[in-house]
Symmetry: C2
Subunit: 425 residues, 2 copies
């Protein structure tokens, strides 16, 4: 266990602003373009990005079994393939190196100039090449809300929901990092009362407040991963906005599930926060009744206390926080999701991404989508500029943030912020 | 147009057995391991595999804009990225080189020894690294059969089916080449009359007779591909067996679609047959009524006359052909599928794969799955050894074959053949 690395009293010789998501206890991993247009793998402390490719070339990872070019890549996939022991050795070494009392890099101005960047000198990239992306549907509150609106308020949950971490496959080619604007999608919809569909820009674009975890190579085709082992194959988590076009979804999704309503864009935060960094924030997940089948039974705290929030910023306006939720509301844990996903022998690769599904809490101000917050358009959500929203308007920016806090340490995910541009002509 | 390459009178100095799927008019592309354990991109004429990496090094592609290592790769993705003009130049050059009267390679024994392999000297690999895989549901007969069995026989087609080439995302990590055995998957099912699910090996494993097309980089995020342009971005086709566990599917698929019922394995044939090779076999697709929305309207023959068949071979038994169908039965064409897939701006990459959906014909002996052939278990299918099947039994091998035939030329896909092993203990 990385006790020292997570020690709340540890400080860095790099300045960490108050309320930063990135104290020395975090040490997330990401990919960025440097001022010299070189792509590298890096980490972040405070408002400094750190070039791990350069650190490795300068010998600071000596003794850790790493190939020479492991950080000089445009994705974390190969590093993630190296496995949990290696991730931990690297994270712990970075923590030691930047710890206040360690002079090795602190007092080596020449090396500092090579490895440190300010945030305005870099451009964050997608951190992994995502082979396959799966999205779960694991918040009971969200599934219940959707069931109440679209099916039977008295029997909102479908019969399988309490037995299966329901999930489906998504499209990885349109997963983009925070900051990349998207277009309002066009598609087929069936207007209310009409018998023939029409084509045009979606009229109901929505966000979905989610988190997603990134896996390492976990098994060979045919072999399951047990619920006990599952967490060992999770590298870390990101914030995830699963953009959705509700009117396209409604017309297309029976019987094979959402397709074009989702695959126009999905946005993630750029820094992957490791499972080791989240360790101090473990918490129980909701009690499960009925008890799941044996292959899904787990012991101990398998969830994490991660505060989540969503803000909408209209063009030339200020942000309004429209939802406050928490990762711990998830009924099914990541370990259960991964065990279920592989119980049929499905192969999991390094860089695969698995979304939580919309994370809605128990109260109306904690719902994770405009569909629920504005309850199908019946309860418009007020913005600070006096406008209201029942869905996302052209040129709105949607920003998801997330952080854990305990014993004076805040471990955050930064943000995933995405602007919705008008549909193309 | 590649007239000479497709000329029925063209013959090769390589022997092509009667009824071979691979005359000189085919020239498919694939990836194989050679006798020296080197991976290379190749083609096939008759029962010879041809090492394109070696041919290129020997200078036989001079004048065609190709990087030096374009064929010395473990997937066709980069070559497919080079685009249609380049694919055509390479295919035409191969055709010239192996044409009977061309002495360049025919009479160069040393070079022949380097580039030619017999089939038992090579091991076929997955031809592409599949980033994203989408499966459509485009056979009206299949959708109607499923609707009759599971929904309302009087209203078998769902309201959206005649307006949308319905599709959904699949999992690419478990797509395997012909010859790779698979395991009967385990999972949750709800026994008839039960209120609680049980866990165990699927009792109803099925094949689905499909074809799939492979795309090149087609657009940037946000931009659609028109139905007129769509075929230019299709590299070629393979046979595709979309393995399905019907009992798992039934319990899990509402509301987000099939998941573990499908992602345990999907098998493809190893040689990709190009659109240029299929050109002489164009045919009309079924008339569409109602007319689709303008973005899906197409002109000309956009389908292909490809005979398809499925055989089941029990352990130590002989194959029994259980279905004969045809690609031309597809209601929605590949061009319509690709135009629909991108109408919301979804990005398509090189090596993406799109399945047709089960291709059932109009008669009961042309249905593309055991679900339909045995009509939900009520009409067992007889095998030549006296056994019957309503689904696939342990140690059965399922083989899909496909070919076009016209003017004495047969262009085939070889086969995709997969053995179902028992569930793991």
């Amino acid at each position: 266990m990385p006790h020292k690395t997570n020690d709340p009293s540890r400080t860095s010789w790099l300045n960490v602003p108050k309320d930063s998501d990135f104290p020395i206890q975090n040490i997330p991993f990401g990919v960025f373009l440097t001022r010299d247009d070189i792509i590298t793998i890096g980490t972040r402390i405070g408002d400094h990005a750190i070039d791990l490719g350069a650190l490795h070339q300068l010998g600071y990872f000596e003794g850790i079994p790493l190939t020479d070019d492991i950080f000089l890549q445009d994705s974390l996939n190969d590093f993630i393939s190296d496995g949990k022991k290696t991730w931990r050795l690297v994270r712990n070494r970075i923590s030691e190196l930047f710890e206040s009392s360690n002079p090795a890099l602190r007092d080596h101005e020449e090396h500092r100039k090579i490895v440190l960047f300010t945030l305005d000198e870099i451009e964050m990239q997608l951190p992994v090449q995502i082979g396959d992306y799966t999205d779960f549907y694991s918040s009971k509150e969200h599934a219940t809300n959707v069931g109440k609106m679209f099916r039977d308020p008295e029997n909102a949950l479908l019969p399988n929901w309490l037995h299966i971490p329901v999930g489906y496959h998504g499209r990885s080619s349109t997963i983009i990092p925070s900051g990349t604007p998207i277009r309002r999608p066009k598609g087929q919809t069936l207007p209310k009362g009409a018998s023939e569909p029409v084509f045009g820009p979606s009229k109901i674009v929505d966000f979905e407040l989610e988190m997603a975890f990134i896996t390492t190579d976990a098994n060979v085709l045919g072999d399951p991963i047990s619920v006990e082992e599952a967490e060992d194959y999770i590298f870390g988590l990101v914030l995830f906005n699963d953009w959705s076009a509700r009117d396209i979804q409604k017309w297309e999704y029976v019987p094979l599930g959402p397709f074009l309503a989702k695959n126009f864009a999905s946005s993630i935060s750029a820094w992957i926060v490791t499972m080791d960094a989240l360790e101090p924030f473990r918490t129980a997940s909701p009690a499960q009744d009925p008890a799941p089948l044996p292959y899904l039974r787990q012991n101990g705290d398998k969830s994490f206390d991660i505060h989540l929030e969503v803000a909408i910023t209209p063009e030339n306006g200020e942000p309004t926080t429209v939802s406050r939720s928490n990762f711990k509301y998830m009924y099914w844990t990541m370990a259960q999701q991964l065990a279920h996903h592989t119980v049929n022998g499905c192969k999991i690769n390094s860089g695969d991404m698995m979304g939580s599904g919309t994370i809605s809490g128990p109260t109306p101000d904690s719902y994770g989508s405009m569909l629920e917050l504005a309850w199908q358009g019946t309860k418009p959500v007020a913005l600070s500029n006096g406008e209201t929203r029942t869905s996302i308007a052209d040129n709105d920016t949607v920003t998801l943030k997330g952080y854990c806090e305990k014993n004076g340490v805040r471990i955050g995910f930064g943000e995933v912020s995405t602007r919705l541009l008008p549909a193309i002509q």
